[in-house]
């Protein structure tokens, strides 16, 4: 019944693909150009002369801005991994409680979680900056790891997924005398693997790309994340474009690799977090 799309659809689809792909490729290729080519008034798409010099320069601490790229990459990676582990654990626990238990106040809790969607970080950043000082996690990575780990989208995704697991499975284990924590670890977690993968991938992406949390919580440049580092390069006319382009390329690469491997989870996750969160 569905007609095969005609050639026009392919042309339109390809032109649009070009619009999405070209700017990123242009940026990556620009980072491989020599300094004089970067200054050209009429730039070319591909470098005339390929060079990797900027990718060596950016690691050098002394050459400009005293940055320490290796440290920033390490910080970003470490924060993203720890926050993701925590996010997986606590969102799975909450999802389990909301999917498989009936308890007093469960609708209230659901409403609270829904309300938090209406309160994104951007509108509470002023008091948040006081709260993280109060708990003495200002200027520590804990501020980037713990608070963002609890996500309404993650809870809803997990809840929706766990509703599909048969209750009998849990009841059987309970009759066998398994503790609740053990049921969680041996029955719920293994059965929730797809949802866990989705939460993990999204959480990693959010933390890797995050800007506002580090901006509010970190002022010590040794603790900077990659995005914070890139954003402090300075104004357009004082900017060292060669290094900026090379650093941005480096910050994009892990996400592109993750995306190529886990494309299916991303698509699934967008549908589910969107619809449920």
């Amino acid at each position: 019944m569905i007609r095969k799309p005609g050639i026009i659809v392919y042309i339109i689809a390809t032109v649009i693909a070009f619009v999405f792909l070209w700017p990123v490729l242009y940026t990556i290729f620009s980072s491989l150009k020599t300094m004089s080519e970067l200054r050209a008034a009429v730039p070319t798409f591909l470098p005339q002369e390929w060079t990797f010099e900027h990718f060596f320069d950016i690691w050098d601490r002394g050459s400009w801005r005293r940055g320490n790229l290796a440290r920033y990459i390490y910080n970003t990676f470490y924060v993203a991994v720890l926050s993701t582990l925590l996010a997986v654990l606590i969102n799975t626990m909450s999802g389990y409680a909301l999917a498989k238990f009936r308890f007093k106040g469960d609708t209230v809790i659901l409403l609270i979680i829904l309300a938090t969607i209406m309160l994104p970080l951007e509108v509470i950043m002023v008091p948040i900056s006081r709260v993280i000082r109060f708990f003495r996690i200002y200027n520590t990575h804990w501020a980037l790891i713990i608070p963002p780990a609890a996500t309404p989208a993650g809870i809803f995704l997990m809840r929706q997924f766990l509703l599909k697991i048969p209750d009998d499975l849990i009841e059987c284990a309970r009759i066998d005398g398994a503790s609740e924590w053990r049921i969680f670890l041996t029955i719920i977690v293994p059965n929730a693997k797809p949802a866990i993968a989705t939460i993990a991938i999204f959480s990693f992406m959010w933390r890797w790309n995050d800007y506002i949390w580090p901006l509010i919580a970190i002022s010590d440049s040794n603790l900077y994340t990659l995005q914070l580092h890139i954003s402090t390069f300075g104004g357009e006319y004082r900017t060292n474009w060669a290094n900026m382009l090379a650093t941005s390329t480096i910050s994009m690469i892990p996400m592109l690799i993750v995306f190529l491997i886990f494309q299916r989870q991303f698509v699934q996750g967008t549908v589910e977090t969107g619809m449920k969160g």
């Binding site: 019944m1 569905i2 799309p5 659809v9 392919y10 689809a13 649009i16 693909a17 999405f20 700017p23 990123v24 970067l38 008034a41 009429v42 730039p43 798409f45 626990m93 909450s94 409680a97 308890f103 609270i112 938090t116 209406m118 994104p120 951007e122 509108v123 950043m125 002023v126 008091p127 948040i128 900056s129 006081r130 709260v131 708990f135 713990i146 609890a150 809870i155 609740e180 969680f184 992406m205 790309n209 995050d210 800007y211 506002i212 890139i230 954003s231 357009e236 474009w241 941005s248 996400m255 592109l256 993750v258 995306f259 190529l260 494309q263 698509v267 967008t270 549908v271 969107g274 619809m275």
Partner: protein
């Protein structure tokens, strides 16, 4: 016997506690880092708090009076509202269009979908940088291209003597140093970076429309356009509502996109609410009035969302 009863009671009590314990870590974080700050924000907004060693003193509604007479804040607010009004329909229809293309039986459909989704994976800072680089006024690709076309046109008109075309002058533009260009640049940048995300939401909804509906439409002699208007579009209602609200909220709180792209300039042309609040709080240290601005912003978003939900429930269009 009594002991057994006691252990049973203990077991029941424990079972009752279990779900709360599972919820606990999340609730603690929500409580400490979302609910508490929200309440504190309302409190701060009624004080003249300046952070650091300062203790908040009550000024009641002075902050609200002040921010509504602050021309710069009102400008940033109006700018944000305008941005939502312009960008929202664009993002909405672009992502719907992409979804329609992707849901066709294209060869290499997965590849197209991956490419359209790809900008979603790039951080807003880097997205801003990419487009700042392309729009750079002396080294950017856009101006390079315009220069090339301009030169080519002179050569061409010399040959063919086309006086009318000759009057149109093509050459480098002021790109991000022009307020108008920068503002529309933000609209474009946001659409480019987020359309793929909302596309996926539409795709899921499109694929769940039962084919029988289309078959029925075909029997009634509906053409392609009619099928889209009378079958596809109405079936997408939940997804449309979802995308509409999520995208609107995202545009209301636009900020990291701007930081690298324009930094709010030129001449505050791309200064939006969140950046204004950020600077009020962390550059000028007026935590009280910054909080009042945040409260105003929450109300704006809530009123917007509420209106949209209400209209959609009445069966009206967004």
């Amino acid at each position: 016997m009594a002991k057994k009863e006691q252990t049973f009671k203990w077991y029941v009590l424990k079972q009752k506690l279990v779900p709360y314990l599972f919820m606990l870590p999340n609730l603690i974080i929500f409580g400490l880092f979302i609910i508490t700050p929200a309440i504190m924000g309302i409190y701060f907004s009624l004080t003249s708090f300046r952070g650091l060693g300062d203790t908040p003193t009550f000024v009641w509604f002075d902050n609200y009076r002040d921010i509504f007479t602050d021309a710069d804040f009102l400008a940033a607010m109006w700018n944000t509202v305008r941005l939502v009004a312009v960008t929202l329909p664009i993002v909405f229809y672009v992502s719907l269009g992409l979804a329609v293309i992707i849901s066709k039986e294209l060869r290499a459909r997965g590849l197209y979908r991956a490419i359209y989704y790809w900008p979603v994976m790039i951080s807003f800072i880097v997205v801003g940088l990419i487009w700042q680089w392309i729009f750079h006024d002396t080294r950017g690709y856009l101006n390079g291209l315009l220069t090339t076309i301009g030169n080519w046109r002179i050569w061409e008109t010399a040959l063919f003597e086309l006086p009318l075309l000759n009057r149109i002058d093509i050459g480098p533009v002021r790109t991000l140093r022009s307020p108008t260009f920068a503002w529309w640049g933000v609209v474009f940048l946001f659409t480019w970076s987020r359309a793929g995300y909302y596309m996926i939401m539409f795709v899921a909804a499109l694929l769940s429309i039962p084919p029988a509906l289309y078959e029925a439409g075909e029997l009634d002699g509906a053409n392609r356009w009619q099928k889209f208007i009378y079958i596809t579009y109405p079936s997408l209602k939940p997804a449309r509502l979802m995308v509409f609200i999520l995208a609107a909220m995202e545009i209301f709180k636009i900020f990291p996109h701007i930081v690298q792209f324009t930094g709010g300039g030129p001449f505050d042309a791309t200064m939006f609410q969140v950046q204004y609040i950020y600077e009020e709080a962390f550059t000028y240290r007026n935590l009280g009035s910054a909080s009042a601005m945040s409260v105003v912003m929450i109300f704006m978003v809530m009123i917007f969302t509420g209106t949209v939900l209400l209209l959609s429930r009445r069966g009206g269009e967004e």
